[in-house]
Amino acid sequence: MAEKSVLVVGGGISGIQASLDLATRGYKVYLVEKSPSIGGRMAQLDKTFPTMDCSMCILAPKMIDCSHHHNVQLLTYSEVKGIKGSPGSFVVTVLRKPRYVDETKCTGCGTCADHCPVEVPNEFDEQLGMRKAIYMPFPQAVPRAVTIDKVNCIDCGLCQKMCQSGAVDLKMEAKEVELNVGAIIVSIGFDLFDPTQIPTYGYGRYKNVVTALELERLLCASGPTGGHLIRPSDGKIPRKIAFIQCVGSRDRRFGTTYCSSICCKYSVKDAVLIKEHEPSTTVSIYYIDLRAFGKGFQEFVNRAKSEYGVRFIRSSPGEIKEDPATKSLTVWYEDTVAGRIENQEFDLVVLCPALVPRTDAKELAKVLGASVDAYGFFKAANILTNPVDTTVPGIFACGYCLGPKTGDIPDSIMQGSATAARVAEVLERV
């Protein structure tokens, strides 16, 4: 029955939290995820501050809870296409893109992928690692089923031959399903600002200039390098690493005037992780204002300085130049506190790009009839009093799709639970 069921769009940590809270509360939850697996951004991270738990290790159980929960129905590789009705009785049309693999039959044994002749960069690894045309984005993927990416598939049919359980179905077609739900929660997360828009930093041209998310994959044990931090250009271990804050954040030129809220914090975390990997590495963090707010972060920064010897320089570098021979990078910056303009050579430079709305956020907002704010994030009904309500009654939002008002993972989780509360408020109101 509609009034007892909820649609959650986006299977990241906030969407998962909302789903589990509602499901455990007794609601029927449809969790729609665009990509082949739930998990979202948190799944891509290496370790998380302050417990330094491996991100996937603490996320995986929640992902699996979702797939096991009798009240949760996963609709991965699916997108919301239309919506009718009103709070209490929405009718939502969901497009189930063809996976060309029967989820119920696939055991995720991976034999098909082993034999697939087509190799392409893996989105989940930020293009740093490779995957096959029939693939599971990462080992802990939920549901545990492979997907054929038809764009790159050459229809050799090998996977079908190899599959023991006859799960591959190359004829599979997209189909639309209609869901009756009482309320909707949007939790589609964020994309990264494209650093090529700031040419002086050379991202895209210089191999050893990477984004922070790429770094997370390079640090991650289950990442493309098996957790060994190496330079993309030559596979050498970087000895001098720089982090550059506010790449696209606090920037009027691109309309991203806001502070992305998390970069300073994860940079300090990554710096410490790198130091633990290779104590001899020198790590420099270039910042404008070091925004280490929130529980335990200031103390953590103090430790990063005193115990780990991480360098903090108040400066936003003007440009990066690559030495064509060594592929090492010279960063031009001013130590604004010392008032000195200097340049320093690094083996690896990590850019911390602004967090921006998903490319399809506006489109989804249009489908749902919800408004977006000046930056293109989902607009809160009232950022003070109704922070997780969208402008449409019965439709709520949590996580970074609401914009940087989300600090980090705990905030996303709190928002996830908060939307669960709002749903209950609306559907249980007595």
Binding site: T200, C246, R250, D251, R252, R253, I288, D289, R314, S315, S316, P317, G318, E319, W332, Y333, E334, T336, G339, R340, I341
Partner: protein
């Protein structure tokens, strides 16, 4: 601060967050400690008038506008520089070269004038004459804007 901020080319100073992208991009600042566009902005914000206006500081800038392209806030140091210079000039701080051009402009409508031989050459080539027919109008305008006073005072 207000004196600069309230001029058309100076308002950028209010947007500055002192990130240092301008200074580390500035070709002059890389050559001399003296010139630091970021610090100059800070000094303007903090109102260190005496340390800025009477000195060389405002006159290092090339106006190459690299900073305009790189400033994340639209702080436009390169633009603000003109607002600062306008104030400096009114305090009599104006390099001879600039004063000379201003004077020439007021007296001939152009900042550089051809020598005799060049004029002859142009004539032989049948090019249009270098005339000062705009002079009267130009001087009228410059009297109004007060530039004439500045020219005569320097």
């Amino acid at each position: 601060m207000a004196e600069v901020a309230n001029t058309p080319r100076g308002k950028g100073v209010l947007l500055c967050i002192q990130c240092g992208r301008c200074s580390s991009s500035c070709p002059v600042a890389r050559l001399t400690e003296e010139h630091n566009p970021r610090r100059l902005m800070e000094m303007v914000i903090m109102g260190f008038k005496k340390e800025v206006l009477p000195h060389q500081l405002p006159w290092y800038c090339l106006s190459c506008f690299t900073c305009l392209d790189r400033c994340p806030q639209g702080g436009d140091v390169g633009e603000v520089m003109f607002a600062i210079r306008n104030l400096a000039v009114r305090q009599g701080n104006v390099p001879a070269g600039v004063a000379g051009q201003a004077k020439a402009l007021y007296e001939t409508t152009r900042v550089i004038n051809p020598v005799r031989s060049v004029l002859d050459k142009r004539e032989s080539l049948g090019f249009s004459k270098i005339s000062n027919e705009g002079l009267e109008e130009v001087q009228k305008i410059l009297k109004k804007t007060g530039m004439e006073k500045i020219v005569s005072s320097t």
